[in-house]
């Protein structure tokens, strides 16, 4: 009796669907090609996973509060460009350039949040506008050309963010630890802290939250800032790891990140979010991208699979939600 109720409860959790999907995905790809679970391939998947993952973690909290941010992909491209431009022109050290890039990102998040909460403009429009402003600035400043990046060798910033080492046969980047730390911290905030309760209330019923004295606008502005900073950090990490700072990089990431979050079980309409689900969603999409290439499906077909996964998971989540609401 007790056992069956535990099983029932885990099935009812929003993370259950994504978890099963990930297991199936891993099994199928491994079945087709045993190299899929080779240490080298796992290392590859993990390296890039955490970069988009950092953005997805912040986006989970933002979406739980009922908003989303389309400007993250453009910040992913813009921040490293800004950092390298400052460094290459001799204005700042690499580390100071990094701090400046994060501060500019925070300011952009603040502007997003201010437009959404004070002018009451939907976040879709505000962040779409910001996407164009930020991407346009990156292209204008660089005339569309990638920045020189080869002088990061030996910088402690590069070591701390993307230094790599081997654990057995696995090549691990420092960024993985930053991702794990961020996932634990934000998971804690969302489920255990008082702030998490406010984030969920802000997304679920902002009027009720406001009536209880919760500073809904403050919560949302804070999350927009967090989202921008994480996108900026992810961009810098990616740039240091690949030794490239291309003003076009990160194009389309906003939609992939939002897809990761909703596949994991966070509601697009706000009020409900899960960090564990997002981590699963991140893995599902990255494993899919890696796996279909590995088993010989043309990479161009990637979007077909992603689209199908999103539709399938949405159907599952909506079904679970209705069951849940009905109290069964």
């Amino acid at each position: 009796m007790e056992n069956s109720s535990i099983i029932q409860r885990s099935i009812a959790r929003p993370e259950f669907g994504p978890f099963v999907l990930l297991v199936v995905e891993l099994a199928v790809f491994w079945g087709f090609n045993h190299d899929f679970l080779s240490p080298q391939n796992i290392s590859n998947i993990l390296a890039f996973t955490v970069e988009l993952g950092l953005i997805a973690l912040a986006m989970t909290l933002l979406m739980t509060s009922g908003e989303f941010d389309l400007s993250v992909g453009s910040l992913f491209g813009f921040s490293p460009v800004l950092m390298w431009t400052l460094f290459n022109s001799g204005l700042t050290s690499l580390e100071a350039g990094f701090v400046v890039a994060l501060l500019v990102a925070a300011f952009i998040g603040l502007v997003n949040g201010w437009f959404v909460t004070q002018l009451k403009i939907p976040s879709f429009l505000v962040t779409l506008g910001m996407l164009l402003v930020v991407r346009g600035t990156a292209l204008f400043v660089t005339s569309g050309f990638p920045q020189r990046t080869w002088s990061a060798e030996g910088s402690w910033l590069a070591e701390a963010l993307v230094g790599d080492f081997f654990i057995g046969p696995f090549r691990i980047y420092m960024s993985l630890f930053w991702f794990i730390a961020a996932a634990i911290a934000l998971g804690y905030v969302l489920t255990q802290s008082r702030t998490g309760n406010w984030i969920q209330a802000a997304g679920g019923n902002p009027n009720a939250a406001r009536a209880r004295g919760v500073n809904v606008s403050g919560v949302k502005i804070g999350l927009f800032i967090l989202s921008s900073i994480m996108a900026s950090l992810a961009g810098v990490i990616s740039s240091l790891r690949t030794s490239a700072a291309n003003p076009n990089s990160g194009t389309g990431y906003e939609l992939e990140v939002i897809a990761m979050v909703v596949i994991g079980g966070t509601a697009l309409t706000g009020g409900r979010g899960t960090i564990i689900g997002t981590v699963l969603g991140i893995l599902i999409l990255r494993v899919m991208r890696n796996g279909i290439v590995l088993i010989g499906v043309p990479g161009l077909a990637y979007n077909i699979f992603i689209g199908a996964i999103i539709l399938g998971m949405m159907a599952l989540h909506s079904w679970l939600e209705r069951r849940h609401q009905a109290g069964t």
Binding site: R194, A209, R212, G213, Q325
Partner: protein
């Protein structure tokens, strides 16, 4: 006579040229359930919004236990012990009962910098409160509000107001869309709130529900309080209905003349 809990004097509220409240006078005594009745547009909602701090008044005074107060927001009203429960907007359906009860005032576990909610303490209090308002079924406090019935949601909202020692609980249409048994449940929550020392303002379209629970009935018409001392025990429903809608022929003629004059 003792100073009432809440006294509103000569309240005026206009939205542009529309006069929603015209010198309305209203009071609620300690440990009293007041039924506020009136037709659509009579000014009930506006009066309640003014009292709950949701809209500012144009002129007039509000006193709580004889002390003049100035509400600039709903938080001001809550701080003065006035809690308003709107049927649909009071709770967050995705959050659990316990988290809703403590929303905005969550207890924090030490060390405080971790900002960690004391969920255990919240659950204990929630379980106790649910018993107090008489939810008979054994509902765990971790249940999301979304899976509760309309009556149970009202009960949670009332329990919250009781726990945080609101002196006055304003219930706006608490029995709308509820079945017979659920309505009786809500009415008994209201009684238990009064019995534990709270006052209530009860607004409902269904006069029969009001009659079952209130100590005194106040009727509003065209922005004014037209009767404020109706004893439900000695008055018939029909009589109250006449006061709510009832304009004599002369009053109707006066209204038409007045309307023409104000247009001219």
């Amino acid at each position: 006579m003792a100073e009432p809990l809440v006294r509103m004097e000569n309240i005026r509220k206009s939205y542009g040229r529309v006069q929603a409240l015209v010198d309305a006078n209203f009071h609620v005594n300690e440990r009293e359930i007041v039924g506020l009745l009136g037709d659509n547009g009579a000014g009930k909602s506006t009066l309640i919004k003014v009292l709950s701090g949701a809209v500012p008044l144009t002129s007039g005074d509000i006193f709580i236990r004889g002390k003049k107060v100035d509400f600039r927001s709903t938080s001001d009203a809550i701080a003065h012990g006035i809690e308003t429960i709107y049927q649909d907007s009071a709770l967050v359906t995705q959050l659990s009962i316990a988290r809703n009860l403590f929303l905005g005032r969550e207890p924090i576990k030490p060390p405080r910098f971790l900002n960690r909610m004391d969920q255990e303490a919240m659950n204990v209090v929630a379980r106790d409160l649910l018993k107090q308002v008489g939810i008979s079924k054994n509902i765990p406090p971790t249940t999301p509000i979304g899976s509760l019935s309309g009556g149970e949601r009202q009960a949670v909202a009332i329990a919250r107001a009781m726990h945080f020692d609101s002196d006055l609980i304003i219930l706006d249409e608490p029995t709308n869309n509820l079945g017979v048994a659920e309505t009786q449940g809500v009415l008994s929550f209201v009684r238990s709130a009064r019995d534990s020392g709270h006052s209530c303002i009860f607004i409902a379209h269904n006069i029969h529900h009001v009659f079952q629970v209130v100590d005194r009935i106040v009727v509003m018409r065209r922005g004014k309080v037209v009767a404020d001392d109706i004893d439900p025990k000695n008055t018939s429903v029909a009589e109250v209905e006449r006061i709510i809608t009832g304009m004599s022929d002369k009053e109707i003629r006066d209204a038409i003349v007045q309307g023409k004059q104000s247009q001219g």
